[in-house]
Assembly symmetry: C2
Homo-oligomer: 422 residues x 2
């Protein structure tokens, strides 16, 4: 820092797309101002994976011509394949066409076929067209037009000596179809051959990241060409195994053995629980206090769950726990609303009053207020009732209100998963 | 493309933080692989804005030591303030500490105070600690430790000649508090003086983006130094007004007049509804069908809402609508579960059975199945019952299951907001 290092300019590669390096550029001042979140990088990464390519570089550029030219040059020095999203609209701060022309030293030329496609789209939807839309028909010389069935801005690709520059629209519902139909087939043909790697993904719940890491590291250690990554979210540890040759199966078997019931599987907790319920033909009812409806929200994101989920009660008040779920008032008085006993009574009450096979309940303190020394913010009791047995488990979760809700919801879903897996 | 341009290495600035250029580096191979989405850039951008700073550069780096060193050097050549997130965990691919040490030519040294903080955290939550956690206590020489009350990884800042390098944890619930409490005060003190611009933000619900755009454009038009941006999320249009001199107030007054009741205000719909309920001392009960608990989840993210929210029922089945909410069976038979009549009966039933001042209900078809020609996927009826009156409104929402749940939840919250604002 005292003497900032002079950054080394990466040397432009002379190799073609077969070298397989991909740079993604997201454009839009609103991204750098935090007014929207970029989901295009993730969509592009996951789509490329299916043809065995990975993103090596990613940068976000503002709507500024000079900066955009600089970022395009930097990206094409770093990668043989550059995919840019955004800045193809008709307005004055949509600079992608000009920036690409400048970065690659090609002039902008009017393309009648692009212009016809834009005009016929406006006619089809009977939208009055502004004169500025004509801008969208000017593309760098030699560019190939990528049709956009879901928007007015055509994309384009500049290809030369096996290197690619793709310009795609920013809105995901326009970008993703163009990526799937126009970009992937071109790239798959250009790189040829089989994917360079295989992936296996799984989630683990209830085990700290450090412990999961030790187990996975040990399993991956002596396999050449194998690597892994871990991410953590709401108490779930996500594992991605990657092998460059051979099959990941021997490692997967070893992991299954060592992780045991902690291994949730490839899907999210709610999808896993949803699958288990539907496969076993069981119904469920929820009783939520501190999670405030989050378990129900997560579970109802699973399509088809209405066949299993009978009802959910968010019973914030004691009165509601008594009247809706039949929790005995003395149990609340004696043990407090946040206790193993009340959680168990809530789970039993949810199953009984709804006539469901499984009842699950959470009662806790999400904060920021309401905590005490004996019952601190973050404390939650979770219970599951199934086949005449009720089990209650305690968790103490760090973080703010949202984080505590998330962790407690996952804990409860995992309790159901384990009960149904036995 | 034929001759890829040699990228120009940006010249390192010799100016300090007062020059105000900020580079954000997101790290994590999982981001480049599409395994998670980066929300940190947006959080950082919005936090910096409050002290009058803007993000000039953003890049995403993989968990690779050499690449990370390269990106840190590039970022510190481009900006006086570098904020990096991620890579502070205990595992082998958490390279931030080593990369920062290498990029700035400083060795890593063991910091007993950081080590004590890590150990006491593990003790407090009774988590067994892996030996590798000791790695987190090694920081570049001269770095100042940024305590992390929400996680095991301490952050750090390297400051020299008025230039800053901040290393913050990747998980948002650890990163954001550190940003607010540790980063902003330091930077505000370093840059001194007044912010370079003023912002005013507001949300609008129930008006199409194009219409909002016309209104705001007209208001902003002849004000020198004023600009605006719009983003859309879940049917809400977010307006950001920015003025470089003077006050935004005359424009704000004009917007308030033109947007009327469509203007929600600066806060989210759920916070606005929570505030209204608490300020007026009113209680509420919810009856959700297709939103599956999402309204309740959103409302219970508002701290203190337990004083207003009595209970929520997610009544997926008809049986549950009848038994929990007292919806008359003939009403369901005659009009179908997705109808104005059932929505109204649900809202009235929710208020009556819970003894609440306000009852709100949603019933609809979130898909992907269950739609018909007359009642397509995306159709939802929303109702609010308040002061003896019940009002039902219909919406038809595009998108997938999640998008429909979100739009319907917002619609219902807005219905409550309008009822309480009259």
């Amino acid at each position: 820092m005292r003497k900032p290092h002079r950054a080394e300019a990466p040397r432009p590669s002379r190799r073609g797309a077969k070298a397989g390096r991909v740079a993604v550029l997201s454009t839009g001042t609103e991204l750098l101002r935090g007014r929207s979140t970029d989901t295009n990088l993730a969509s592009i990464a996951r789509a490329l994976e299916t043809i065995g390519l990975e993103v090596s570089y990613h940068a976000t550029a503002p709507d500024d011509l000079d900066r955009l030219v600089e970022e395009i040059r930097l990206a094409s020095a770093r990668a043989e394949i550059v995919i840019l999203t955004g800045g193809l609209g008709p307005t004055e701060d949509d600079f992608t066409r000009r920036a690409a022309a400048e970065a690659y030293g090609r002039e902008l030329v009017f393309r009648p076929s692009a212009w016809n496609a834009i005009r016929s789209r406006f006619r089809r939807f009977r939208i009055p067209m502004a004169a500025i839309n004509r801008r969208q028909a000017f593309l760098p010389r030699g560019a190939r037009i990528l049709p956009n069935p879901n928007g007015s801005a055509p994309g384009f690709v500049v290809e030369s000596a096996g290197r690619f520059f793709f310009a795609l629209p920013g809105p995901p519902r326009e970008m993703v179809p163009m990526l799937q139909r126009q970009v992937l087939p071109r790239l798959a043909a250009a790189i040829g051959g089989k994917p360079r790697f295989k992936l296996w993904e799984a989630r683990v719940f209830g085990m700290p990241e450090g412990t999961v890491d030790e187990i996975v590291r040990h399993v991956v250690a002596r396999r050449p060409g194998a690597s892994y990554g871990l991410t953590v979210s709401g108490g779930t540890v996500n594992i991605t195994l990657r092998v460059e040759r051979g099959s990941p199966l021997p490692m997967v078997r070893a992991l299954r053995r060592k992780l045991g019931l902690f291994l949730v599987g490839p899907k999210s907790l709610e999808e896993t629980v949803g699958d288990l319920l539907l496969r076993r033909g069981k119904t469920i009812a929820l009783a939520e206090s501190c999670t405030g409806g989050l378990i129900s929200h997560k579970l109802t994101n699973v399509a088809g769950i209405s066949a299993a989920l009978l009802e959910a009660c968010v019973c914030y008040s004691n009165r509601s726990k008594i009247s809706r779920l039949g929790v005995p008032a003395p149990t609340i008085r004696r043990h407090g609303a946040v206790s193993a006993e009340v959680a168990a009574a809530m789970a039993e009450g949810a199953a009984r009053t709804a006539g469901a096979d499984v009842g699950v309940a959470v009662t806790g303190i999400a904060g920021p207020s309401g905590g005490s020394k004996k019952k601190p913010v973050g404390l939650a009791w979770h219970a599951v009732h199934y086949r005449g047995r009720t089990r209650a488990e305690r968790g103490v979760f760090p973080g703010d209100r949202m984080a505590i809700k998330e962790r407690a919801a996952h804990f409860a879903l995992d309790l159901v998963r384990r009960a149904l897996s036995e």
